[in-house]
Symmetry: C2
DNA sequence: CATATTTGTAACTATAATGGTTACAAATAT
DNA sequence: ATATTTGTAACCATTATAGTTACAAATATG
């Protein structure tokens, strides 16, 4: 049996939303983004709120409001998007091993160091991509102007 | 707020158990391992079953039974341990975006390629460590013979 | 052979993460 | 004024996960 270690879609949804904004000359509403992502507008607002807190987007309520980018798509790296969600530890150290066992009492720190190293390599890879790259690849697949 | 994307501790538990076995000259029971990990023996059996299916350990039921390594600790890489758990996708692409949107209809493949690249970098980093390395670092922290 | 030990595994529970949904106040443009 | 849109709390349903109980099957030893 093959399982996912992680069912959190917020990172994917964030990239999707930012790519939509990058492809649009006007602000997009939560409803429009939700329609493309196929979810509820509140899910979009919740996710976008994290991006707004980190200065990637801004929102405006009311008629003709919505979301827009605060930066050029080529200046938005996926690592920064990832960090904006305040989600860490794709690999998780177990909680409270037996302190009186020589292995149990010392393995937590060793594991955390290994996991931190592995994760930093992943994050570095994410940093090699920007929203502009994603949009370019999407357009390539769409094979027309999006 | 900072959250974990992942609460799955099986990888950490697996490394912990394998490190214990590497430190022991005799087989260890699920109960002994569970005591060091601080969990229930069934949790250990479930996790170890995956490692057994992948040829990393063997188990023997009955009196004086238990678990032992089938390979030298220096020959057990953490990437192989990770793969033995059949857990994939530390980054998850969202499920069913709108096919009729040019972005929604094409972003899934683009995201999967990016996530696969990021994950492969993480996996490569894990491959740089073995159970022998973990045991060595644990012993260094313990500052005595384990 | 009898007994104690240990794994194998099904079944169940509790907790937490997650996404989805409803509801409504506040802000905004026209 | 009115329609639109975000902000956010509250709640529900689903799923992943760890933990637990129970018991059959296998094994070593006296």
């Amino acid at each position: 049996m093959v399982t996912n270690m992680n069912t959190n879609q917020r990172f994917a949804i964030s990239i999707h939303a930012l790519t939509l904004l990058a492809s649009s000359s006007t602000p997009l509403t939560s409803g429009m983004i939700a329609s493309s992502v196929d979810t509820n507008p509140v899910v979009i607002r919740r996710t976008m709120a994290s991006l707004r807190e980190h200065g990637l987007v801004e929102s405006k309520p009311g008629a003709h409001g919505g979301w827009k980018l605060l930066r050029e798509p080529a200046q938005i790296g996926l690592y920064e998007v990832y960090r904006s969600l305040d989600e860490v530890n794709v690999l998780t150290v177990h909680g409270h091993p037996n302190k009186f066992c020589p292995v149990g009492g010392n393995i937590t720190g060793v594991l955390q160091a290994v996991f931190d190293d592995a994760q930093s390599k992943m994050e570095k890879a994410l940093g090699n991509y920007t929203i502009a790259d994603v949009l370019k690849d999407v357009r390539k697949k769409a094979n027309r102007s999006v």
